[in-house]
Symmetry: C2
Subunit: 190 residues, 2 copies
C-alpha cells in the first residue's frame, strides 16, 4: 500500500536492524485519516470472506481494526493483555511473548463474544515472529470459530512470522512488507 510505505519512509524511525518505530502515526500518536485508509484496504482484501468478527490485540491494533470493522460492518474484539475486574466470565487465554517489550503476557478473550459460527479476521499492527497472531489464532480455535486470515499493517518480512502463519495454513495480508532495516533506511518488498 503506497500511502503507508510513504508514511513509513517519512516518519518511521529505524532504531536497530530489527526495530522500526512508527510512534508518529500508529503506536503512540495515531493518524485517524490514515487508519481509515488502512481499514478500507483490509476491508477490500477480505470483503468476500463472510467475516463476522474482527479480533485484534490491545492497544495498537485497535485503531486499524475498528476502521476495518466500520467498513465491513462487524464488531471488533480486542484481546486484553491485563485482566480487568469487569472481565469476570469464562475466558479463552493464550500466552504471548513480546520481543519488543520483553515480557510474557497472557492474553484473554471472553467466551461470550466468540462462537463456533464466527468467521474471524485477525488484525494487528506489526508482524515480526508472529507470537501475537499465534496467540489470537489459539484463542479463536478454542472458540471453534473459523479464521479467514490475518491482516497486518507492517510486516517485518526478515523475521519468521509470515512463514510460520502460512505453514499453519493462514492467509496473511500485510499492507507494508519491510525487507530490511539498515543504516536508518527502510527497504520494502515491492
Amino acid at each position: 500500500m503506497e500511502l503507508l510505505k510513504q508514511r513509513i519512509r517519512e516518519q518511521g524511525v529505524v532504531l536497530s536492524d530489527k526495530v522500526l518505530k512508527v510512534d508518529a502515526f500508529l503506536n503512540h500518536q495515531i493518524d485517524p485519516a490514515l487508519m481509515r485508509e488502512l481499514g478500507h484496504e483490509f476491508a477490500e482484501r477480505f470483503r468476500t470472506e463472510g467475516i463476522t468478527k474482527i479480533v485484534t490485540l490491545e492497544a495498537s491494533g485497535i485503531a486499524p481494526a475498528v476502521m476495518a470493522g466500520l467498513e465491513l460492518d462487524v464488531p471488533v474484539i480486542f484481546a486484553r493483555k491485563h485482566q480487568s475486574l469487569t472481565l469476570t466470565e469464562d475466558l479463552l487465554t493464550a500466552s504471548v511473548y513480546s520481543f519488543t517489550k520483553q515480557v510474557e503476557n497472557t492474553i484473554v478473550v471472553s467466551t461470550k463474544h466468540l462462537s463456533s459460527s464466527d468467521r474471524v479476521l485477525i488484525i494487528d499492527d506489526f508482524l515480526a515472529n508472529g507470537e501475537a497472531a499465534k496467540g489470537l489464532i489459539s484463542i479463536i480455535n478454542q472458540a471453534g470459530a473459523s479464521i479467514a486470515g490475518v491482516g497486518i499493517v507492517i510486516e517485518k518480512s526478515f523475521q519468521n512470522g509470515r512463514r510460520d502463519l502460512e505453514r499453519l495454513g493462514h492467509r496473511v495480508e500485510s499492507l507494508a512488507r519491510v525487507q530490511r532495516l539498515h543504516d536508518g533506511q527502510v527497504s520494502f518488498i515491492e
Copy 2:
C-alpha cells in the same frame, strides 16, 4: 446521548453498585458504528474550540478518540500504561490509580507529540473518580499545552470525577451520565 443510553440499558451489566460492565460494545468488544456516532457527538460539542490534538489512554479510549479525531481532522495520542522499548525519547509521566484494576500505573506520553501550541481535547471511556483524566491533565500541563475540555463516554455521576475536574476549571462533556447502579438497573441523569 439517547443512542448510547439505550445501548447501555440493553447490553450493560451492573456488577455492583459501583461497577457497570459494557464489554459488549466498548471495553472488550467494540461496536465500530456506535463509536463513529460517539466520535461525531464529541466533535460536535468541541468543534469551535480549535482542537489540535486529542489525548486518550490505552486501551478503551482509543476507539471513540480515533473516531472523534477523524471528524475533527486531528491526531490522537494514546498515553501508554506500559513502557515500550520503542518509546525511548523524553517522556511526560503521571501516576494513575485504577480502582477497577486495583493497580497504580505510570502513564507516559512522549514529549515529541505534544507542544505548548497544542489545544487538547481529552477523551476517555469512563469517568469515575477522575484519576485517569487528572493524570492526562498533568501530562498536558507539563507539555505547556492548553486543555479545551474532557469528553467522556460514560460518567458515573455518583463518584467524584466530574466535581473534581470542574473544580480544576475543566469543561466536562459526558455522553451518558449514570446517576445510580442498583438492583441490576442503570438510572441516568436526564
